[in-house]
Subunit: 239 residues, 2 copies
């Protein structure tokens, strides 16, 4: 059976402007691979309502699970929750369960739950909350979309909460063989081997180091015995 | 006049599996911002023909310029050139100009131009070549799409070749004010300031450092005098 599919939507001008380098995508990609969910597509859009709504709809129709990161804080540029509500044709307002979580947190922190912070209790109708053990303000799940914070420590904590609720497939096992030749010399035998093993995925990732060419040949699959067999042939081909 | 728009398509299983962390997107984002081109969307897809073709078409219709990275090497998993040809309804074959470049390079390198390497001379009809000063195998431009290698040193060299051919807008100037308060205390005054300056873009990027909350408030715009005025008000608001 093929693995369940997933997509990610990263929301925020700061990555598109080059100001920030995304860390959440790399984290999520590794975690999903570990539990056997295929991350098939990532999109990054800015803080524009129309773009966010269109991307959420497209990804949510096409893949089994969608993760979003970014845009759920208290400032005016945080418009993700409203856009997700619009994408699912749901109303959105401050919700009591989310407000209680914030109120309790801010009492402990000696901080006022002001109007700006209350924006973080705006949750689309029908959504369930995702716990935020770092800074309280919750994420939420609606339909097949998990809406999470962009701050990496919070994002990672939310991913840890959501992942056990997903049904993964067989984890993808990956083996890497490093060959110190040009890809042009590797391509022929490597392609033939790939054709012999249609159940495995084989990719070549070239590098240049100290002026010499090489490639990491990566073989991926779910059947460990088959993987070992193919890797042994791969090693023999380039001895 | 609004700045020209651009999108990027990153092609490769290795980023979606979490094996590799993308570096090309971050590089391109910074370069485009520098010359006043707005990077509006990034998509990352795997080595699947259908996904690549659909993404190229969607981005090329929507944005003025599209950059792709990855999948133009000699191995069997490099299918980008064929997919781009399909996306533009063009034929593709080994082209004499690309073959000459490779032949000359490999003679110098004392390497054989074998069948696998010749795949890198497959160029869609009507495309123009993008020079590759690092490892010879060219990228190409067809329509509004620039097709470039995934190896970061080669990608960067190709970006350097293509950028001077783009007509940029006024470069986006960006100022950052770091405020050591929670975003919930920042949001009110910051949102009011943003409403006063519709011609500037203002975003808040929260962080947690040594257990304390803060945010980098970023103000972006093309009018430096206006930017200075807004930043002065921002600083005064949080003194």
């Amino acid at each position: 059976m093929p693995n369940p599919t997933a997509a990610m939507l990263v929301i925020g001008d700061e990555i598109l402007s080059g100001r920030t380098r995304d860390a959440n995508m790399h984290h999520l990609a590794g975690e999903l691979t570990r539990i056997g969910v295929d991350l098939r597509e990532v999109r990054i859009v800015g803080d524009e309502a129309e773009d966010i709504i269109a991307a959420v709809r497209a990804l949510s129709e096409r893949y089994q699970t969608v993760f979003t990161s970014g845009g759920i804080g208290p400032t005016h540029d945080d418009i993700t929750a409203d856009c997700i509500a619009a994408a699912f044709h749901q109303s959105i307002d401050v919700r009591d369960d989310a407000r209680s979580i914030l109120a309790e947190h801010y009492v402990k922190a000696g901080t006022v739950l002001n109007e700006a912070r209350l924006r973080m209790a705006r949750i689309p109708a029908g959504a369930t909350l995702i716990e935020n053990p770092v800074s309280a303000a919750p994420g939420f799940t609606i339909g097949n979309v998990h809406v999470m914070a962009g701050v990496p420590s919070v994002f990672q904590a939310m991913v840890a909460t959501v992942l056990p609720t997903l049904v993964g497939g067989a984890p993808l096992i990956s083996r890497t063989v490093t060959v110190h030749r040009g890809e042009g010399d590797i391509a022929g035998p490597f392609g033939e081997l790939a054709a012999q093993y249609p159940g495995l995925s084989m990719g070549s990732y070239p590098f240049q180091r100290d002026g010499k060419y090489g490639a990491n040949l990566v073989v991926r699959g779910q059947d460990e015995a088959l993987l070992d067999e193919a890797v042994a042939k791969l090693v023999a081909a380039f001895e």
